[in-house]
Symmetry: C2
Subunit: 340 residues, 2 copies
């Protein structure tokens, strides 16, 4: 084990040039003869040298880094992070990740990102109070992904929950459904828009709303609970629109155990198009918020605010699309009583 990591100086002495020249070479700047450049990189590779990002950004007074807050436990975060990397890289920025875990809350993670002197931060589904976000946004460009926020707090990218749910309802109506229920998860940041989307769409089709509110957690248990309550009623709706994939999963599972078939007896839609929905096992019709599109929009907003100091926060609304899979189909011939 080598006790000390090599520095630019070590490379320079080895080649027999000044430290500055090594610097020029590593920054790909002109003024270094190609033969020297080659020798420098060779020596660097032999010594195992790589530039110290800390010292570099310290001197530059700009890190070229965008901080990203994400929750690995959240099913759609991975896709977004992946897309963020691509989008940031295209625009010449790097990413530094701040993960949310059981031992690290949002405040800790954000403080750490600030410590790295990231030039802006992108927060994926943040739960930080609005006034704190506002305060943070005074210090550096902040972009929130997926959370509806009051105008002007910070830049925000989100998908149109109202339109997404409406697309699901439209799809079901087109298939011939008329008794379409909605499973509402109040703990979801987007819950209001999605709920609104359901009510408005049903209204537009002249159909009565049938809403079932379920517990706060994202687990399938809550979806199963909704299934129970439908089973306890005289008539099972022919279709159920769920406000998230996990609830849809739980609901379907419970329905299957009760001897109902999906989609023959009941059609079900989810929201998020998470990996779970895509499993062939599940094959869930779901509303997709394109991660690439959201990420690109987020990075664009961040870059815009970083380059133009006094540009105002932007709001970008992404139009979600319905991915039709095997969990939706034509309604059962007549609205029969519950078969149990």
């Amino acid at each position: 084990m080598i006790s000390k990591r090599p520095t630019m100086m070590d490379v320079a002495t080895r080649v027999g040039v000044s430290r500055q020249l090594v610097g020029l070479a590593f920054r790909n700047e002109a003024g270094v003869s190609s033969s020297t450049r080659e020798r420098i990189f060779e020596a660097a590779s032999e010594l195992g040298y790589s530039p110290d990002i800390a010292a570099r950004s310290l001197r530059r007074r700009s890190s070229n880094y965008i901080g990203v807050l994400f929750n690995p436990a959240h099913s759609s975060a991975d896709d977004i992070v992946e897309a963020l990397y691509a989008a940031a890289h295209e625009r010449g920025y790097n990413l530094i990740l701040g993960a949310l875990t059981a031992t690290r809350d949002e405040r800790d993670a954000i403080t750490e990102l600030l410590g790295f002197r990231t030039e802006s931060v992108i927060l994926i589904s943040p739960e930080t109070p609005v006034n704190e976000l506002r305060k943070l946004a005074k210090r550096l460009p902040v972009v929130s992904i997926g959370r509806p926020l009051p105008q002007g707090v910070c830049s925000a990218v989100r998908s149109d929950g109202q339109r997404g749910i409406a697309a699901a309802v439209d799809h079901l109506v087109e298939l011939g459904h008329r008794d379409i229920a909605y499973v509402l998860t109040r703990s979801l940041p987007e819950f209001a828009a999605r709920h609104q989307g359901y009510v408005t769409a049903m209204d537009r089709h002249g159909l009565p709303s049938r809403v079932r509110e379920i517990g706060g957690d994202f687990t399938e248990e809550s979806g199963a609970g909704a299934a129970e309550s439908f089973l306890a009623e005289p008539v099972m709706p022919t279709a159920v629109v769920c406000s998230n994939d996990h609830a849809a999963m739980g609901l379907i599972n419970r329905l299957l155990r009760a001897g109902l078939r999906v989609p023959e007896d009941v059609s079900v839609t989810g929201y998020d198009d998470s990996r779970i929905a895509r499993l062939s096992f599940v094959d869930l019709t779901s509303v997709r918020q394109d991660p690439a599109e959201m990420s690109t929009a987020a990075v664009e907003a961040a870059v815009q605010m970083m380059s133009d100091q006094d540009s105002t926060p932007q709001e970008r609304m992404i139009v979600p699309t319905l991915v039709i899979r095997g969990s939706t189909g034509q309604p059962r011939s007549e609205a029969q009583l519950h078969p149990r």
Copy 2:
């Protein structure tokens, strides 16, 4: 938007003390009166100051950070990352994440981590060639998680694939199964140990091996392919041991579509106990490699090598456990012909 981030000096001037005293306060060191300490933190909060990690680790010549290479697309990486945070934090270290994406290969990600002057790196299922790993391990402590490596390359934490598969086989034998097939995925780093585990366990029970090798990808498609090939044979095994959860999922799905029931007609086991396996929808009996245990072992190995410069690479083998769920049960009464 403020043009410049505040520094220690700004806080100091505001409070009317020296910069050094602010430093003492932020490092929680003695020698600062509690009243002054309070005023310092208040001023810092007003200015939105947080210490510059870059400058700090530059001066300290040690970053207190452990680099973690992970692939967000890999199903079990999230759990491990989460557990790594906890384990590292307990021992006074922080983590900096290097994600693997479509636009960033392992070499890029590792180089970046080195740039941050992490004191060691933990690589989750790395695919870097052995000689490069060896070279890297000469520069700083390296811990690999989940990949079998030749002795002495770097510290390694992995679970005993042989024992894991053996546990699955034993469980099935105990249930009464005798015709137990194995689905082998050669692309898996652990494939040899797991395969060995199957053969040895079957041998021990005096049962003949029945192995089916499937395509390289981790997708369910490959598992479905294995199901196809079993269906094409005169006798369907009463149980199938799969070398990963995804293959098991695909297999089950294909079997169900062919009208077979799981576990009534065929029992199936997976490997990894990934989130998918835990879904109530799937309820897959699977071999679990405890993320917390693996993470703790990895951090311990890293810490050990960081504090004792010339300690040799360690190897830690974690004993996996079988999580019994609903996809395994007693074998069908007699080994009937394929029912199609």
